[in-house]
Symmetry: C2
């Protein structure tokens, strides 16, 4: 280990960070200046990676959970030779079009493994990465060839550790013994408000021990110690490790270091100059020649490592052709078509139950589908076929995950699994608790990760559990998040297609809204409905004898309600449209939309939730909705109490 | 302590719970059967309360954080003699109109201190109750008279402790040394999925010690022990206490106890009969005569206690008339009017900054306003006047709270403070992180608590921090929650009124959406705008010379953008409406709406967020919105990139 070179790398991280933030007049110098040494040794010595092959499946992953310190990551990617992070992008830090965005954005540059910034979630996603590694290792490694064998490294700060999601994820990681997860805690005792003494005096080490982690301590500024502690972390295969590194925020800025002023604002011309002088930085966007030389020499070493792996992989492929085929399937990025379950008109079945049949079929065709529920395996109906097994310490090849009552971490972990590559993930809870995991769902959407969210008990038809468990605003609230495909199937047949549509959609997450209550499978007027539904809507019932007097748009369990209402209306010609995905349908060309909902038709909307968003389609008085919290009572009584009935719809039809 | 009587109380809790759940054919017997002994001793011996005066300000509070076990609470309220919980309601458990709703609903019956059910939040709210107690005690108690001196008791289960929000809140409680918070952990090692060994094997005791709590252990079924442990908890004034009580879920149901089957479904006719036989329950909805007698005797004792307090309170009032006046003001449920800050047209000031001036004025007039930020005191601009002080261990009379980076717990704690009585609470974070606290905001709304949420950095005009920090869907997502008053003021003057409107609104929480960027204060066409704005909208600029060709509805910073656009349009008469609260305006009678937005007018909408919900007002092509995630860059550049510009609006006007 060339300590002098590493010092120069750290110096270069500081130099680039000071200047990029200063030039942008925006950014967070505190972390990159405070933790530069860790970055140097991680990217230079500890991590297995190859900047020339950043997508290498068996690379170690690094997640900057404290995403505001993005210049830490960008500097290191640049110095280490990642092509996606040229100096030009760093010089355009935080400008439109620069890959060096305000916070690390997944997809903008190779080497950014996850979008981070919303605190705590990087750590929680890292737990997903580490879980994914165990799954792939268990399935693909052989006694002769260990093709999956990498670590997940995380850098987090006080903020990440205060957030509840990191508590949930860390407890989960400890329970599951994720030994290849190594978290460095940049302990600088400073947050935006000032000293952590203001609000955060818990014993973090003890807390992590309570989760079943190995906890180690050292200094941020001792390379030998970091190397030793990391080796110790690696040696502990049964426990994740937290390495607490005492550090100084903004280290090197002589007047601002160790104060909250260093955290989230540029140093300012004067202090930047003072820092440069203090550190001995001779020029703008300075990269020390020794650092350059050091990383230049590393390229060869890294190339050798990744080539060795390619050789290993080739040998493994030769000896295990079936596994190789499976591997390619896992990494294709496409779900294999499944033999979806069939249902018959008249069957009475809850869409959550139908969903389980579809999930089972899809999981059978796609062994790389993994996921579970936040302690609602039965109620959510999201069990996998028995051969998929349960993922435990003892059975890393299992696919079903017991997340515990930790919705937020569950979703973040699913993001991590999805980002890792090789696996598709799903998670589930009651729809009302989509609120608990919403920040992670937003990241699924922002990172365009095809995580499937199974949200059951999707309306006031939950019944007795009452308003705390009855979603009313959740469909509307999910629909407003960009890139999310919200799917609310009307019966069991639609549910099977909904699951297939979720698997087909890879530009973001899907949210399946499924019923607790039984729903009768209805006949579909459109003979091609299984194709048409992929526009987001199709015609369930045609108006008999010509142009409809009214088109009823309904979703989910309200399609059945609309059918019942239409049967009671004898003096009007009514078309019924099941709109399984409002946003998807609204994104169709006018010609397609108009064929299903004629532009001049009177439109009535029926959905057991708030009306917001439906005003595009119908006048306020033509919307049957629930614009208040629910009520505890048997489902039919609650529906009656809240006016979500066949009669109410008939009355609107008039 | 009459152990035999307590046993009969516990028996009666079990009897009532079995039958109510059985009759409703819905509910969770596991907890009430498993923890009946704790309930008996709490309501019979440990708690200071008076069922005849359930609103008594100095009563101890009990929060059933594991709200699914609602029959535990209802049984005890009934047995203890709370008038609001007659047997009739229990017999109508989980039916429409019954005060014994599926989960405890605040407001349905005295004795229900909080709505619980969404796991973890009960405990977090309890932290708020305990914090409120210290604040009121510090302000009102004198050496001679301790009129505020009560405990907050919580019953929680495994689920509550797995949720991140309890981790956040518990760390906060430990940091702040809330010695009068006593949490009983019903440790039955069973969750819905089965054994806690599936997902939850952390060392809870050690974890709570790491937070700075006192941790005690005992058996759920030893009254003497529970009494002793509770005394020990009370004796520790500097630390909250976690009392871990080992228990058996569904205790008494011979075949289902100690299994997940006992958790969340009625026992079933057979098992209910077996349980009755096993426990010796002779009849339906059985209340043991000894239990009845025990509580009948208690009434007198309780009456004496509460009367003693009344005497104490009267003496205190006499000696401290000023304090008494202040006390009445605190408990009036109404905010005092404040001298709001004045601004001048042309002033350039961020609405967050204007908000701080308004907050300062309101806090000066209302000393019972307490709150703070999740470590963003400066960025959110929510500091209080210096004389308000900071709430710390050393200064319990302080009003500003450092919540730490714990958004969800912050909001839940504010709910607890508000529910406690005597105080108004506010909390703040970046608007994008409203997602982190959304489940607590939903409870504010459901419980109709006037918590003020200050959400700054309210659009893509945040700029460089990029899409993780730029809300686009959040205004829409907040507006869909029933009872929430979303207020997005257009300039500093509107901001002052918005804060006043938030204080006036007591039927739910308010969410203030405030800008990071400076905004120019604009002149208002409506001379009575300070009144009109209370309809949710008013006319900022009249169309010159007659009926408008178009009405532009804008909110927040986009009002200024609309004014600039209108100035560029010379060939059309344009009215500009600032719609500070869309839902409020939409709830107005048609006559009021029509006066501001004529029903036949062409309406154009401009808001820097997703369009969902605005289609009620304008055609899709007449809405200038941002229907995608944001982009990292300087605010003006980001806005240009995303098409949120004056020119784009001019183009729509045509």
């Amino acid at each position: 280990m060339d300590i002098t070179a590493l010092e120069k790398v750290a110096l270069s991280v500081r130099a680039l960070s000071i200047d990029a933030i200063q030039k942008a007049n925006s950014g967070h110098p505190g972390l990159p200046l405070g933790a530069a040494e860790l970055g140097a040794i991680l990217y230079g010595e500890l991590m297995k990676h190859d900047p020339a092959d950043p997508a290498w499946a068996d690379r170690d992953r690094f997640i900057l959970s404290a995403g505001h310190g993005s210049m830490f990551l960008y500097s290191l990617l640049h110095l280490a030779g990642y092509k996606d992070m040229p100096l030009e992008d760093i010089k355009n830090f935080r400008q439109i079009g620069s890959r060096a965005a305000g916070h690390p954005e997944y997809g903008m540059a190779a080497g950014i493994e996850a979008t981070s910034g919303p605190l705590g979630q990087g750590l929680a996603m890292a737990v997903g990465f580490a879980a994914a590694e165990t799954m792939l290792a268990a399935r693909f490694n052989t006694a002769a060839h260990k093709i999956v064998d990498h670590y997940t490294y995380v850098l987090c700060g006080d903020g990440c550790l205060m957030e509840g999601v990191s508590a949930e994820a860390s407890s989960f990681a400890g329970h599951h013994g994720l030994g290849k997860l190594i978290v460095y805690y940049d302990s600088n005792k400073i947050t935006i408000d000032g000293s952590t003494d203001l609000a955060f005096t818990e014993d973090v080490a003890k807390r992590y021990e309570s989760y079943g982690w190995q906890v180690l301590r050292g200094s941020m500024y001792d390379f030998e110690e970091i190397a030793r502690l990391t080796a110790q972390a690696k040696a502990e295969a049964q426990k994740p490790s937290l390495i607490i590194l005492t550090s100084i925020i903004g280290k090197g800025a002589p007047n601002k270091q160790n104060t909250a002023d260093a955290h989230g604002a540029p140093l300012g011309t004067e202090e930047a100059a003072a820092a440069r002088a203090n550190l001995g930085i001779p020029g703008d966007f300075y990269v020390a020649p020794q650092a350059q030389k050091y990383f230049a020499a590393k390229q060869l070493e890294w190339k050798k490592t990744s080539e060795n792996w390619q050789t290993l992989f080739a040998a493994w492929s030769k000896e295990n052709p079936q596994k190789r085929t499976e591997w390619d399937k896992f990494h294709s990025g496409k779900a294999a078509p499944a033999v979806l379950p069939a249902f018959n008109s008249g069957d009475k079945i809850a869409t959550r139950t139908a969903g389980n049949k579809a999930l089972t079929a899809i999981a059978t065709a796609n062994a790389n589908l993994t996921g579970g529920s936040a302690d609602l395996k039965g109620p959510n109906a999201v069990g996998l076929p028995p051969e998929a097994g349960t993922w435990t310490r003892e059975n890393r090849a299992g696919s079903y995950i017991h997340f515990g009552i930790r919705e937020f971490a569950m979703a973040a972990i699913c993001n991590g699994i999805s980002l890792h590559g090789g696996l598709r993930s799903y998670c589930s809870t009651f729809m009302v608790f989509a609120d608990y995991l919403r920040p992670a769902l937003r990241l699924s959407a922002l990172m365009k990760q095809p995580v499937t969210y199974v949200l059951t008990h999707d309306s006031i038809f939950v019944g007795e559990d009452g308003p705390t468990h009855q979603p009313v605003e959740h469909l509307a609230a999910l629909r407003v998040i960009p890139n999310v495909r919200v799917l609310r199937p009307g019966d069991a047949e639609e549910t099977a297609e909904a699951w297939a549509m979720a698997m087909e959609y890879t530009a973001g997450p899907s949210a399946l809204a499924l019923s607790r209550q039984n729903i009768t499978v209805f006949p579909k007027a459109d003979p091609d409905w299984k194709n048409t539904i992929r526009t987001g809507a199709y015609i369930v019932k045609q108006a008999e004898g010509g142009n409809p007097d009214a088109v009823i748009i309904a979703t989910g369990s309200e399609v059945g309600l609309a059918l019942e209402a239409a049967a009671k209306v004898t003096d009007k010609k009514i078309r019924i449209v099941s709109m399984i995905s409002k946003e998807l349908f609204e994104s169709q060309p006018a010609a397609i939309r108009d064929a299903i909902v004629p532009p001049d038709a009177r439109v009535i909307v029926c959905e057991a939730g708030v009306r917001n968003g439906w005003e595009r389609w119908a006048k306020p008085e033509d919307i049957l909705s629930i614009d208040r919290f629910g009520e505890s009572g048997p489902a039919d009584k609650a529906a009656e109490h809240l006016g979500m009935t066949v009669d109410a719809l008939v009355k609107i039809v008039g």
